[in-house]
């Protein structure tokens, strides 16, 4: 199936990538021959997304706004099989990480990526990183506008932007076009939320200075309503102010969130607006024809009318209770009646969260070609999404995903855990994440129990850098190292929903690796005993506070 429903590279994009691949090939050649030292080479490889981790090089591949064609997904599977160990890890920034790439193969791997208009540029370094979006974009029933159009405009503006190639620190942007935040926009350097004002115009709420990591901060609204054609001029102004005043003397204080925190949002606004006064009428003001041309590339697929209620689906719901649970948790309302958005859970019981083998990636591509217009999305919650599935095809999609191990009916439940790679892979980590996630997943594997517990977001990070978003987990787990022993700090009440965005509060001393499952079990037991009608875990926590949870946990461990 052709890539017809999202942005297609033009000659400019392809030439740029081809040149970049050859440049990187030469850099690798010079490093291997000894012409370049590691000190000289390291910034060059990082600019191309190539990290050196504990046991191997890791290639972080950008998946712009989490959207993949099946052709691209098959190529990722092929690259993983040919140049890696045949699997990849989908991340909380909608990227794919290949953990066992050889330096000598890296140029061929990025050349293969370029064949399908993909790359790993700007997935590292102090630059504007891959812009992320709502993974239901272009399909969600609650969407105001497709945020990917704006992500693509940001991608074109930010790719190799000369002024912003040496920022004080990395810079992450997320965009949502829905009132339900599925892109965690309040915990990004800049979050953009499309909304309709009382006059009926659609524009952006610009949120700045959010972030997790060592100093978690919820972003603040810099501009309540920004006309869409002023987006790039405004972003350029934000970046200029950050580039000028952001700290470069201390890596831990270099993110924009620290700048906003130190000078205050009012001063930040004043500075940005002053800069904006000189940029808003520049070439950065977006021409409606440009917007229209890019929007045209994201035109929705011509979905034919399909029945909204299907007898066979209704019958299967009664016959197969697990299918009924799957429909409830793993499918979401589509903007068009007769369709659903399907989430393929990359979290079967006991599996490393977010990992998929080459065979599984190819399997998802086959399903997407047959049932979802050749489109796949990557969610920041480390699952894959089929955005346009007809209701009458749901039983077939469920069965096909089941054959891949991706039909676990657990999306949004306690085993749909976000976990960073942790100490098993990562050179920065202090403790393991994946084995902890696996043990919690196995402990709560019973689907009926999971659905009884209801929506509960568990997020695990192996260090304070918080790639596993533990600060915004209903239950957040942070791995720490104390005198060579792995311990896990628990926080409660984190959330990314609009209106409820909150950072979790640490409940007490960290618990041992062999106690963490018991601790989570104690938290869940407390919730089940104390929950009110219709309350999720996080609602009960907000109502009764941390104390009852804390008492139960420390009595249990």
């Amino acid at each position: 199936m052709p890539d017809t429903h999202f942005y297609r590279y033009d000659d400019f994009d392809r030439t740029l990538l081809a040149e970049r691949v050859e440049q990187f090939r030469d850099q690798v050649r010079r490093r291997l021959s000894g012409e370049l030292t590691e000190e000289q080479f390291k910034p060059l490889r990082l600019t191309n997304g190539l990290y050196l981790q504990l046991h191997a090089y890791m290639l972080r591949i950008a998946i712009p706004y989490g959207t993949l064609s099946t052709r691209q997904l098959r190529k990722l599977a092929e690259i993983a099989r040919k140049y890696d160990r045949g699997y990849g890890h989908f991340t909380t920034r909608q990227n794919l990480q290949l953990n066992w790439i050889k330096l000598e193969d890296a140029p061929d791997a990025v050349a293969a990526l370029a064949e399908v208009d993909m790359h790993a540029i700007q997935t590292s370094g102090n630059v504007i990183r891959n812009t992320t979006a709502d993974h239901f974009a272009g399909a969600a029933a609650d969407e105001i506008e497709d945020p990917r159009i704006w992500c693509e405009i940001i991608r074109q503006w930010s790719t190799l932007h000369p002024e912003f190639s040496f920022l004080p620190r990395k810079f992450k942007i997320a965009v949502t076009g829905s009132p339900n935040d599925r892109a965690a926009v309040r915990v990004h350097d800049v979050g953009l939320r499309l909304w309709r004002n009382p006059e009926g115009q659609v524009g952006f709420e610009v949120i700045v200075g959010g972030g997790l990591g060592r100093t978690p901060i919820i972003g603040k609204t810099l501009r309540a309503f920004l006309p869409k054609d002023e987006l790039l001029a405004y972003l350029e102004s934000v970046l200029r102010v950050y580039n000028r005043y952001g700290r470069r003397d201390n890596i831990y204080k270099a993110r924009i969130k620290i700048l906003v925190h130190e000078i205050g949002v009012e001063k930040m606004r004043e500075e940005v607006e002053a800069e904006f006064a000189s940029t808003k009428d520049s070439a950065l003001r977006l021409d409606p024809r440009t917007i229209e041309a890019i929007a045209g590339q994201f035109a929705a697929p011509p979905l034919p009318h399909r029945p909204a209620t299907v007898g066979a689906v209704e019958a299967l719901k009664i016959e197969d209770r697990v299918f009924a649970l799957w429909l409830k948790s793993n499918t979401a309302p589509h903007r068009m009646a007769g369709y659903r958005i399907v989430t393929a859970s990359l979290k079967p019981a006991g599996a490393p969260p977010g990992d998929a083998s080459s065979a599984q990636m190819e399997g998802v591509a086959d399903i997407a070609d047959a049932y979802s217009w050749g489109e796949v999305r990557v969610s920041h919650e480390q699952n894959l999404v089929l955005p346009h599935v007809a209701v009458e095809d749901l039983p077939a999609v469920y069965a096909a995903l089941g054959r891949l191990g991706f039909a676990e009916a657990n999306v949004g439940k306690i085993t749909d855990i976000i976990a960073c790679p942790g100490l098993d892979y990562c050179a920065l980590a202090n403790a393991r994440s994946i084995p902890v996630a696996q043990r919690i997943s196995n402990h709560f594997a019973n689907l009926a129990r999971q659905h009884d517990i209801g929506d509960l977001k568990v997020k695990i990070s192996g260090c304070i850098n918080a790639c596993g978003h533990h600060h915004v987990g209903h239950i957040g787990i942070l791995g720490v190292d104390k005198n060579g022993v792995e311990l896990y700090q628990i926080s409660l009440g984190g959330d990314v929903d609009f209106g409820h965005t909150a950072l979790g509060e640490i409940i007490g001393p960290a618990v041992g690796a062999d106690e963490i499952v018991e601790a989570v079990d104690a938290l869940v037991a407390t919730y089940l005993e104390r929950r009110g009608e219709g309350e999720r875990f996080v609602d009960t926590y907000r109502r009764i506070g941390a104390e009852p949870f804390k008492e139960r946990v420390y009595a249990a461990v």
């Binding site: 191997a56 599996a351 098993d424």
Partner: protein, 104 residues
Amino acid sequence: MAKNLSGDLTVASANRLSDGVVVFLDDSGHWTPKLERAALARDKRAGEILLERAKAEAFSVVDPFLVSVSEDDDGTLEPLSLREKIRVGGLTFDAIAAEAVRYA
């Protein structure tokens, strides 16, 4: 029984330049993936000398550094820290295989 848990025993480690594989400097100045072949420094001064040697032999590796190890009575070396144990032993869980489909 493990000896020298104070961290005085060290070996020199790095990642191999061409593929990132974890390697150790042996007594003949070659880099080997096998910890049991690593040259062992038994005190701080010997460790400093070992690290200097490792840096001098770093053409084919990246960023050599010292790893604290323990030594059993039979001479078996084991890193002291979990990080280094994982570097030597690999993942602590089963990664999925290329052709794996979990429940098929």
